[in-house]
């Protein structure tokens, strides 16, 4: 049979696209190379009785419009907000972040009376920028070089939105988009640790340091999500991040879609400039009227399409698309909760994100190591223990700990990672934790270490880049992934891309998948049903 749509990759974006297409009445087949689904939004039992969110580990950006349209809560998805966070300082002190406004102010005041009263205005300003950018997430970027009515209308819409702001606000926004988070924070705060905590969202997943221009925008990328209307809040998916893709898969199957795991794609079949389906690793052909790739743009076009079928300029741009991985991950099963000497007993933020990097300088130095082709000697770690909130992931009293580590380069001094490199990387991270939580090492029951090498090999993320492509302006909006091909289409007729390589990028957002579905349905002249408008708070 010939499917209406064959989707390569059962990551969250592939499943979102599949879900919308199936609901619109298309016959949809998702093929997945692994024996499990989920891509980077996955939960796996890697140690008996312990569920690991071994790639992505927190949720905020996943668009609520998608959860509603695809009825994900009905299919088991539950997002749990988490409680603040803390930075442990080198002098033995700590800085906590609290959900409670007053507790937060008093905490800041312990470190700087001025900063305590600066936070509200800072949060307000970031929220203002978020409010401007959020409606852009679920829209196809216009092509500024085109004179097609749709592109012109979209550009006019953007212009109108911009000019609805006050003059002063427009200037503030343009500065914000182009400056470094370090410079931005200097305008609000004086305490290095307060700045370091705020800067975290600007570097997670990026191949930039906090002093790089453009990182203030990345902060926005992480801050524009919400948990139940709490803008900027983050949470856990109950049962691990795989709960998102499990719910998406269930929703897809309920709409008649099919998922085939263990079905790696060897090649996208192209005849006469259009695609006809995919050829699997085992030689089977799956015929489809259209093929939608959830793989990143490099893997799709450099690995699965005959280069002769593609324009030379396009191939050149895809090659130059930046996908340098910058992060690694330790997934650890713990016999008991770790005790961090800097953190007071009973503080709520043990249920949040825990950091050891107490200044922008340390963060930036960690980045300098990465630039030189090393993993950071004094890495930044975003440590979370989701089992402090979610009881479903481990046996009672045991814990799962996720350590997201920056920076880890795609190659070590130009050479592929070796197992010895990986072990040295893990040791660096564990030593850092041990120094803040003596006895920590003895609590480890099992540990999975993931460098960019593992992320590429298992999840298929080229160079281990968790966003399927870096989030710099030359790769955002109409430039993502390639100028002229930012509308989810490719040079090959009926071959589409729907992964995070496309606008608006990564972060378990689902927006690329939904936007791609909207374009595909528009192209197929099928009415776009069941796609709710982007939420706009007046």
């Amino acid at each position: 049979m010939t499917w209406d749509a064959v989707i390569i990759g059962a990551g969250h974006n592939g499943l979102v696209t599949a879900g919308y297409l199936a609901r619109a009445g298309m016959k949809v087949c998702v093929v997945e190379k692994n024996d499990w689904i989920g891509g980077a939004a996955v939960s796996r039992e890697l140690f008996s009785g312990f569920t690991y969110s071994n790639c992505s580990y927190v949720s905020s950006l996943f668009r609520p419009e998608i959860m509603r349209d695809l009825e994900l809560p009905k299919h088991g998805l539950q997002i749990l907000p988490y409680e603040g966070g803390a930075v442990m300082m080198q002098d033995g002190g700590h800085l906590g972040m609290f959900r409670d406004h007053d507790a937060n102010r008093r905490e800041f005041a312990r470190h700087s009376p001025r900063d305590a009263e600066a936070y509200d205005r800072y949060a307000r300003d970031v929220l203002r920028h978020c409010r401007f950018i959020r409606p852009l997430l679920l829209r196809t970027p216009p092509d500024p070089s085109s004179f097609r009515p749709r592109d012109l209308a979209e550009l006019a819409w953007l212009g109108k939105r911009m000019f609805a702001l006050s003059e002063a606000q427009m200037y503030d926004m343009i500065r914000f988009w182009t400056m470094s988070i370090s410079d931005f924070l200097d305008e609000y705060f004086e305490h290095p640790t307060i700045k370091a905590y705020q800067a975290v969202a600007s570097i997670i997943g990026t191949a930039l340091g906090p002093m790089s221009p453009g990182t203030a925008y990345v902060l926005l990328h992480h801050a524009m999500g919400d948990v139940d209307g709490n803008v900027g809040a983050w949470g856990f998916a109950r049962g691990g991040m795989g709960a998102i893709t499990r719910a998406l898969a269930a929703s897809l199957r309920a709409a008649g879609g099919e998922i085939r795991t263990g079905s790696g794609v060897a090649k996208i079949a192209v005849r006469g400039g259009r695609t006809t389906g995919v050829v699997l690793d085992n030689g089977d052909e799956i015929a489809g009227r259209r093929v939608i790739s959830n793989m990143d743009v490099k893997r799709t076009f450099l690995g699965h399409v005959d280069e002769a079928e593609l324009p030379g300029d396009f191939v050149k741009r895809v090659r130059a698309f930046k996908t340098r991985g910058s992060s690694g991950k330790l997934n650890i099963a713990l016999d008991a909760a770790p005790k961090f000497t800097a953190l007071p007993e009973g503080a709520p933020f043990i249920k949040g994100d825990l950091h050891f990097t107490d200044s922008i300088e340390r963060m930036e130095r960690a980045y300098d190591d990465w630039k030189a082709g090393h993993f950071s000697r004094d890495p930044f770690q975003d440590v979370m223990i989701p089992t402090m909130i979610d009881p479903t992931m481990t046996p009672p009293g045991k814990h799962f700990m996720s350590c997201f580590v920056q920076y880890a380069p795609p190659k070590i001094e130009g050479q592929d990672w070796t197992d010895a490199d990986r072990d040295a990387f893990a040791k660096t991270c564990i030593d850092q934790i041990e120094s803040y939580a003596p006895g920590f090492r003895d609590l480890i029951l099992h540990m999975e270490v993931r460098t960019p090498r593992e992320l590429e090999a298992e999840v298929g993320l080229t160079e281990g880049n968790i966003f399927q492509g870096e989030l710099t302006f030359d790769q955002l909006l109409f430039n993502r992934p390639v100028p002229g091909y930012a509308q989810y289409r490719s040079p090959i007729r009926d071959l589409w891309i729907c992964g995070s390589s496309t606008h608006p990028g990564g972060g378990v957002m689902g927006a690329p998948g939904r936007n791609a579905a909207a374009e595909i349905l528009r192209d197929a002249k099928m009415p776009v049903k069941e796609m709710s408008d982007a939420y706009a708070i007046p």
């Binding site: 003059e167 002063a168 500065r175 182009t178 400056m179 790089s212 300088e361 930036e364 030359d474 430039n479």
Partner: protein, 519 residues
């Protein structure tokens, strides 16, 4: 009634250009220069017995064509040894790469055919993009408002000009607009010497490394300027930088401007929310209808005017204007011509072995430290102009990056470390050069701040970076040359389009002042 129409604070190139344009329209203009001679950053001076330095700057990248043509600077004595100084990308092995013509129009040296072709294409593309940006230099930054003041017709013409570059170029322009130069170089080229040189040129005078996003735009900005009709010029004026200042001063005086040197301004005077003149350091009060400040906006507003005449938000915007200088200036008096392993001494000698070297030299200054292996451009002005040094001896002038503007180790220790690192690097590329040294002067960014009044030692009176360009320069709400206080205008490199020796900011500001007077 004051007898003066305008007092211009600061006799640098922008102050002189502004004053001259105003005087040409019949205004009575007085320029006040604190030092003994006009010129600002273009002023020169002796630094060792018998040796003269070319000044803080040693190469002219751009002189605004309006300033040069309308003021006829050539008739006031401005001439050039060359406007297309060749560059040599030095190699520690002596395998140098020479770039001739504007921005390396031709390459000489061992380099692969692929790189030659790729460079020709990349260079042409960058020159096209830069040319499209050139008209913006002469523009008063538009306001992002429907408010009056914008010349919409002109803006539309400029926008159309950019759009007219064709679909492919336009897309590429939008992609590359905020990209970092390091990625571009690694995408397109393989030769480390060439990549190092371009990475160095892009970040020269900035507080960014080549891997910092937005860094390519700084290169485009420089390439958008011209000297005597030559885009992407590297010009060596006859008589060095002081000759540029002298020509400008002469042109200004010919237009009727009075220049008072050795005259420091202590205060800008305000009555009833209007600027009425200035008080000099000696207590003398001068009155005028307008005061134009061609010294840094930060110093102007925060020190001479004072926050009490500004709103707090505006005060903070100018206070937050980043002005970190990352370049040090070294002058060496040499007993003989140094040998850079056979490199032509009458070229610009660039020590930036690779783009990574440039980035590594940037890393330490982020933390207020001195790099172990700085990158630099070296000019030997005495090779062109024998009068700068005693016979047979030479002056070496180097811009060395990066140097911390606020060193953790203290100013003297950092200066000594910077000097040692720089001399060691020079010795590697010109063995024996250290033995030739008979005099030396290292100006760190903080020395430059003290001597030239540039906050943080930044040449542009405020970093030239995307978030501080166009309508954000020096800060939003004061980017159209008018300060928030009626009667006070800003005309220094701290305003659009920024520094260089160009005089564009001063010329643009004068245009605004004349327009306002008409209205």
């Amino acid at each position: 009634m004051p007898s003066l129409d305008c007092i211009v604070i600061g006799g640098g190139t922008n102050g002189l250009a502004c004053a001259a344009r105003l005087a040409r329209k019949g205004r009575r203009v007085l320029v006040l220069e604190a030092s003994g001679a006009p010129g600002g950053g273009a002023a020169g001076g002796g630094f060792a017995p018998g040796f003269r330095s070319p000044g803080l700057a040693h190469i002219v990248h751009m002189i605004d064509p309006r300033v040069a043509d309308i003021l006829a600077l050539d008739r006031h004595g401005l001439g050039y040894h060359t406007i297309s100084l060749a560059s040599t990308a030095l190699s520690a092995t002596g395998d140098h790469l020479r770039l001739d013509g504007a921005f390396g129009a031709s390459l000489t040296g061992t380099i692969s055919a692929e790189d030659r072709a790729a460079w020709a294409e990349l260079r042409a593309r960058l020159m096209r993009f830069a040319a499209a940006l050139a008209p913006f230099r002469g523009l008063t930054p538009p306001r992002l408002a429907r408010a009056p003041g914008n010349d919409w017709a002109q803006l539309a013409r400029l926008g159309l000009g950019v759009r007219r570059m064709g679909k492919t170029d336009f897309r590429e322009f939008l992609r590359m607009f905020l990209i970092n130069v390091w990625d571009v170089l690694n995408d397109e080229l393989t030769d480390d010497r060439l990549k190092g040189l371009v990475a160095f040129d892009a970040t020269l005078g900035s507080w960014l490394g080549p891997r910092s996003p937005n860094s390519l735009l700084l290169l485009l900005n420089r390439l958008s300027g011209e000297v005597a009709g030559q885009q992407g010029a590297l010009a060596l004026p006859k008589g060095g930088m002081p000759a540029v200042a002298a020509a400008l001063a002469s042109a200004a005086e010919a237009a009727g401007v009075t220049i008072r040197t050795g005259t420091a301004v202590a205060r800008i005077d305000v009555v009833g929310d209007k600027v009425i003149g200035v008080t000099l350091a000696n207590g003398e009060e001068l009155r005028a209808h307008r005061v134009v400040s061609a010294i840094s906006p930060k110093t102007t507003l925060l020190s001479l005017l004072g926050p009490r005449h500004l709103d707090t938000g505006a005060t903070m915007r100018i206070q937050h204007q980043k002005s970190r200088g990352g370049a040090a200036k070294l002058h060496l008096a040499l007993s003989a011509l140094p040998d850079f392993m056979g490199a032509d001494p009458k070229t610009r000698l660039v020590i930036a072995p690779s783009a990574d070297h440039v980035e590594r030299a940037f890393n330490p200054v982020k933390y207020g430290e001195v790099p172990a292996a700085p990158v630099m451009e070296v000019v030997i002005p005495s090779a062109f102009e024998p009068g700068l040094a005693p016979d047979g001896q030479h002056v070496l002038s180097a811009v060395v990056q990066y140097a911390p503007h606020a060193p953790k180790a203290g100013e003297d220790a950092a200066r000594a470390a910077m000097l040692e690192a720089t001399l060691a690097t020079l010795e590697t590329h010109a063995p024996g050069v250290r033995k030739l040294i008979v005099g030396q002067k290292m100006l760190m960014p903080y020395d430059i701040e003290r001597r030239y009044g540039m906050p943080g030692g930044n040449w542009h009176h405020g970093e030239l970076s995307v978030e501080q360009m166009l309508f954000l320069r020096p800060a939003s709400g004061m980017a159209q040359y008018a300060s928030p206080v009626p009667g006070l205008w800003l005309a220094s490199a701290g305003t659009h389009p920024g520094g260089g020796i160009s005089g564009a900011s001063g010329w643009n500001a004068a245009g605004r002042i004349l327009e306002e007077a008409r209205a």
